[in-house]
Amino acid sequence: METKSIQNKMFVENLSCYFGNKCVLEKVNLTIQKNEILTIIGPSNSGKTSFLRTLNRMNDFNPNFSRTGNVLLDDENIFHMNMEKLRTRVGMLFAMPIPLPMTIYENIVYAPKRLRLTKREKKSDLDLLVEQALKDASLWDEVKDRLNSSAMKLSGGQQQRLCIARILAIDPEIILFDEPCSGLDPISTAKVEETMLVLKDKYTIVLVTNNVKQASRVGSRTAFFLMGHLIEIDATEKIFVSPKEKQTNDYITGRFG
């Protein structure tokens, strides 16, 4: 591990976010390293979801949203990039699994095909793309015989992994997970976590979670947010074994939050 050189993928510089006059995030500085799983923990209202949604500019749809500071993706300022282009490089998975109202197959080819992200227009190429995405999301074995049935008929955990596959099909560099397991049972959660650990080799992952245990299971590094401030960020083992800040310790030992 130590020999592998650490590459930084994303720089967050002095980022502050506001909804109306309310400051939800204040002067956050952190880096996201390539091929890591950065887990973000913190009680509700700590600004962790707002932070995540800023990274691919999903907050831009809210007319009350404003921010100062910058986020760089491979040295390019994301706020100067084309928004749609950014989102194909930084994909996002939401808390509720929301398959689009079409078949499993269509859900996956939707983005690559419609957005002309792929030159692969031929049916056989698209088939391969679907198979690869579903395999990477560890869903292939469960759905390979019914790719043309409606995605709405899948179970919650399967739907969430379908959403992962859908993102993988556009081949992003970073995937943002916004509490992806909050609506799932423990077995589905375990499967999603397994999937994340596999994906780490190819992608950079940022995971926001309310589940402290989950952060300790999958995180390479963990950041603790509280009331809009980044309190502490370090290797996951360090955060969970010997946190520097008292607040972090209180939170992970369950004294509040």
Binding site: N56, K85, R87, T88, F94, L100, M102, A111, L115, L117
Partner: protein
Amino acid sequence: MQKHQAKREKNMSKIKDDIIEKIIFLCGILSIVFVTLIFAFLLKEGISFFRESSFINFILGKFWYPSSTPPEFGILSLIVGSFIVTVGACAIAVPIGIMSAVYISEFAPKSIRDILKSLVELMAAVPSVVIGFVGMVTVAPLVRSLLDIPTGLTAFTGSLMLAFMAMPTIVTISEDAIRSVPWEYKEGALALGATKWQTIRRIVLKAAMPGIIGAIMLGIGRVIGETMAVMMITGNAAHIPSSIFEPVRTMTATIAAEMGETVKGGLHYRALFAIALVLFSITFLVNFIADMFLGKSKNK
């Protein structure tokens, strides 16, 4: 003693409950009874017409000469008239209606949305005779001079004005359907890098489609059944037109215009009921289809 009284009070409230329940039941059943009665009446008068004249001749006959001797009752030209006006109105109202629904629900800022919504609802409240009147005195002369045709009272003018009447229905119901598409669908597509327009076209409109089709059907239902405005602005010539810029006569206008001149129980009178029967079947079918689509969108 007290126990006794409590029991009596309980009985009283139970009786009151029962009475109210019966009244509500009666009100509910009444509307069904009325519709059935109307249909039965139509059927009785209409069917008796077909005893003296064949159904095929009635539907496919080209000539509507109710007062010549012998009279001819062929309603093909009337059906064609209704059809042309309806199709024309839809061709105008559907695209504009859906686009304004998309604009109101997806693009308009809140202040504009509120104004637009109430204006559209106000549009639905304009009485059809007013629309007919406006069409007759302003739109028809305009159509005549612009297109240089002998009269401005044409199927096209009728379609134009009826489109105005169908639009509020289409806009309001489509808008509801579009807005009930969960925000998460849009977010999901946007997070994949889709633009706003791609999201609307591929996701929002697709998910809202059953509701939108229902809205269109209800709009069509309104147009087919419309009488006063079409009578005033379509020219009322009972012949099969060769283009939409010729006068036509619809089924509804025929009934409204001629019912007053007929002998009650006479052949002409019953022929008008037969037209009403045909019209009723068409609107029933359209509403039935609309219900099917609207029901489907709710169950999902």
